[in-house]
Amino acid sequence: MTTEHAQNVELTPSEYIAHHLSFNAQGVNGNTASEGFWVLHYDTLLTSVVLGLLVMGLIWWVARGATAGVPTKRQAFVELVFGFVDDQVKNIFHGDRHSFIAPTALTVFIWVLAMNSMDFLPVDWVAAIVSFFGGEHAKWRIVPTSDINTTFALALAVWFLMIFFSIKAKGLGGWIHELFCAPFGSNPLVWPANFLFNLIEYVSKPLSHSLRLFGNMYAGEIIFLLLGMWAATGLSGTVFGAILGAGWSIFHILIVALQAFIFMMLTVVYLAMAHESH
């Protein structure tokens, strides 16, 4: 179950895990160090962009040929996903959802689902393929959503959209008024409390939004790695590791879909809340 070089060099468990959890990080902007802010995780970025282009491109390809007549099975499937997302958004947001929020929800759901699904690929197969093409020390994290940068990027984008829609719906004055006068009332004495509450809310929203997804996917990956390590310890380890690995994979189907769904729902809820005034 371990990779080729693992058998050759005899990695220790911590080295094995550390290897699997290292990013393919390279400096940008003339920076040669692989630490600090000006560093790019090429594995995360490339995998997510390729997946995004693939899934959204597939849907676009079907949508381009969409007919109002009898749909093909392909179109029926895409319409099923469309209807599922549209129904969820319709129940939460009561404005003109078709111009922005519903398409955004579809993007988030499909893209995050695709990125999460990379967790189904056996960790050591990925490592084997990467070391076959990139050499013994090549690193490639295949699950973009187990990189905090990805989940933070999505959550922060939603956060900025939230503030944008909040200001757009209530005006800049209305938004500032709400910062100080909700939830306790407009008495100047409770302004600090209100502002503190809103501050906590604005900080906690992107944090919980991103860390929930990151935590689930990261934990899932770690468990796969631990099972992979166990499988390398002998025959009984291989048998139990395989059985538990299969079980965890099946359970992980639920987590992958559920986390994508939760991430989409929170996106819709945050954007819908931004439109409501208190």
Binding site: A25, V28, E35, G36, F37, W38, V39, L40, H41, T44, L45, S48, V49, G52, M56, I59, W60, A63, R64, A66, T67, A68, G69, P71, Q75, V78, E79, F82, G83, H98, S99, F100, A102, P103, T104, L106, T107, W111, P144, D147, I148, N149, T150, F152, A153, L154, L156, A157
Partner: protein
């Protein structure tokens, strides 16, 4: 956990994907689905309309049929009445004609009888005069007794 430039790159990728979906993926799907929904709704409404139209037509045809039946019965009744009338008229006419013919025949018979009587009367008087002439010959003056004879003839 190391936050770095990947975050910004991923955010840009996210923004581009959202833009792509908003612009190119969502609208054609929405149009297709909404158009189909409208077509199905229209079709169902048309079917309902057709059904009610069929019902109305059935009712109308039944009413027309009933009316035609009633009219036919009426016409047959009228025809029967007229036929009876014609027969009655013909009967009356025939009776009148028969009466007329019988009356004409009776009048002719009376005429014939009268004529025969006249003839007989004339002959009786002549015969009586001739007989009396033969019996009486000389004693009887033809001129003196002709008056009496005429009276006799008239009594006949």
């Amino acid at each position: 956990m190391n936050i770095n430039f990947t975050l910004i790159a991923q955010a840009i990728a996210f923004a581009v994907l959202i833009w792509f979906t908003v612009k190119f993926v969502w609208p054609p799907l929405l149009t297709a689905i909404e158009t189909r929904q409208k077509e199905i709704a229209d079709g169902l409404a048309a079917a309902q309309e057709g059904k009610s139209a069929l019902e109305v037509a059935a009712k109308k045809s039944e009413a027309t049929l009933n009316e035609a039946k009633q009219k036919a019965t009426e016409i047959i009744g009228q025809a029967e009445k007229r036929a009876a009338q014609i027969i009655d008229e013909a009967k009356g006419n025939a009776k009148a004609e028969g009466d007329r013919i019988i009356a004409g025949a009776k009048a002719e018979i009376d005429q014939e009888v009268n004529r025969a009587k006249e003839g007989l009367r004339a002959q009786v008087s002549t015969l009586a005069v001739a007989g009396a002439e033969k019996i009486l010959r000389k004693e009887i003056d033809a001129k003196a007794h002709s008056e009496m004879l005429a009276k006799l003839a008239a009594e006949l």
